[in-house]
Amino acid sequence: MAKPKVAFYWCASCGGCEEAVVDLAEDILKVVEAVDIVFWPVAMDFKKKDVEAMKDGEIAVSFINGAVRTEEQEEMVKLLRRKSGLVIAFGSCAHLGGIPGLANFWNRDTIFERVYKEVPSIANPKGVLPKTKTKVGDMELTLPEFWDTVRTLDQVIDVDYYIPGCAPPPDIIMNAVSAILEGKLPEKGSVLAPDKSLCDTCPRSEKKPEKISMKEIKRPYEIIPDSEKCFLEEGIICLGPATRSGCGEKCINANMPCRGCFGPTKEVIDHGAKGLSAIASILGIEDEEKLSEEDVQKLVDKIVDPAGLFYMYSLPSSLLRRKKI
């Protein structure tokens, strides 16, 4: 029997998801043995025309990482959708928008201004900005359009499953791959990771006081957190209560709080709003009856950049999706 064909593609991403595949170490040999990789721009020399030449649905599975921000990315993922049986959104950016999704606090013009004119490391006296069409002699060079808004993969094409994480850890990837190969997939649209939030598996959960309260807000650089206490107890915002588990608690073990890369749990529609509600609910709760409105305002203002914090990985997938322009 012919081996199932598999494609990998990257959109607006950092390359970490590609690393994650390589991080499978010897397990990748098992994958390579079981499947036939027909497209993987970062590692193999196949071109778009090779994909175009395939029959619709010929690729068994496409793993697509990165958010969608340019015309080219949109075109490629639509092409891959047509040619694939299953499309898997791979990693936080494809799943929720990820770090590139934070660009939704700006738009194309403000990003171009900043990147091509203002940053200290740029010398661009003529103020040249990228354009979709440029005349060079009698030739015309083209670039794909750069959209104002970053989108998640499922805002552009139909997605069958999600592998969460920035980047997805090897065991989550291998479980997903085995589930696909063995045909043991859950219902369409599922995130292939546990359903409970990180506190369920967090080693610090054990010693958490029964009633948890945040008396104050501290940013991670302000203190060296006790490596055994729950971050919330120390006043450091941890998105663990609001974030799907399965990451292997890497940040927690490095003494850093959860920032939410696995996204929300199954029933939640807006990751940031849930995280915000959870934190605000326990902030200053011990003295809530004594605090004046001004006191509360001060406490709340200690959370610098709440939008960037609570939507660090999920802005494009949020209810508001982007800053109003």
Binding site: V268, S281, I285, E288, E289, P306, A307, L320, K324
Partner: protein, 319 residues
């Protein structure tokens, strides 16, 4: 039935003169219009249980377990009956004899609960605890202590806490009401959604003559306690085209559940966040109204709607 807790209330149950002042204030009565859902009706049933004239049934138990403990009935009771304390003891009684109704008591979905413990912290009634469960732990709700305020539901970041639907106060039902209003308003009037608690604000709204209400330019939704309004609900309403959202509850110190304190923190933080989205912070307001201050309420509502009218819709293209 031989009553254990309720028999202490036999006199009190008789103090109720069955005047019926309470029922028009009770959310549950307003929903169904049936006597059995009114505080008076329930007191009568409990009186019947203590005297032995009525035998308990799962139907009665379910009714007794349906109460949001807003206390509005007691506020209007001409005989000062401790309605809520009676209900609490009745719940204990009914549980002991083997009934296990759902009522307005919340329950935990163990498939989603990560035992983060946040709900334990926010429950003023101490109804939620972390219990040892063999090797593991689990979150347990005390059905007698839970007052159904819904604070924990808006707190739980995993949507692991549920309450029976049908009382028109779940996030889903509140969203549906707001959405219907937003979609139905097609005359270019401001789309303002006002959430009220059943204690301070809503009765005042009923009494006061609000011009904004007459022109039908805002939607007033009774949420029982403002502590159950989650930031996700507010954002959802904005994303569906609301121009402004006002949340009106009791002044500090006066909420039965301390839901207003939670609402204050959530809303102040949410306002900061809205600013970052370039959405004017004045579009979201938390107001606290002393019971009886209908003049203030009218003024607050008018000011809010004037301000919102000036701001216009958030998105040029109506979503």
């Amino acid at each position: 039935m031989e009553t254990k807790y309720l028999k202490n209330w036999e006199n009190e149950l008789n103090i109720c003169i069955r005047c019926g002042y309470c029922y028009e204030h009770c959310h549950l009565f307003k929903l169904s219009g049936w006597e059995v859902d009114s505080p008076r009706g329930k007191l009568l049933l409990l009186y019947g249980l203590t005297t032995g004239e009525i035998e308990p049934s799962s139907y009665i138990a379910e009714k007794i377990f349906q109460c949001f403990y807003c206390g509005r009935c007691e506020g209007s009771c001409s005989a000062n009956v401790a309605v809520r304390d009676i209900f609490t003891d009745a719940k204990a009684e009914l549980l002991e004899v083997g009934f296990d109704p759902e009522g307005t008591v919340v329950s935990i979905d163990e498939d989603f609960c990560s035992k983060c413990g946040l709900c334990v912290s926010v429950c003023k009634s101490e109804a939620i605890t972390i219990k040892e469960d063999g090797e593991d732990k689990k979150i347990a709700v005390d059905k007698v202590k839970c007052k159904g305020c819904g604070l924990c539901i808006a707190t739980c970041p995993s949507e692991a806490i549920t309450q029976k639907e049908g009382f028109e106060v779940s996030q889903k039902e509140l969203l549906a009401k707001a959405t219907n209003f937003i979609e139905a308003e097609k005359n270019g009037n401001p789309k303002i959604v006002v959430f009220c608690c059943n204690w301070s604000t809503y009765p005042e709204l009923q009494l006061s003559q609000l011009p904004v209400q007459k022109k039908d330019i805002s939607m007033i939704i009774v949420a029982m306690c403002v502590g159950r309004i989650g930031p996700d609900l507010i954002l959802d309403i904005f994303s569906r085209g609301a121009w402004g959202v006002m949340v009106a509850g009791c002044p500090p110190e006066e909420c039965q559940h301390n839901g207003n304190y939670k609402a204050r923190r959530r809303i102040l933080l949410l306002k900061n966040l809205l600013g970052q989205f370039n959405i004017a912070q004045q579009r979201l307001e938390l107001e606290s109204i002393e019971p009886g201050e209908s003049a203030k309420l009218t003024q607050v509502m008018n000011n809010f709607s004037e301000r919102i009218k000036k701001l216009g819709p958030i998105y040029k293209k109506e979503v």
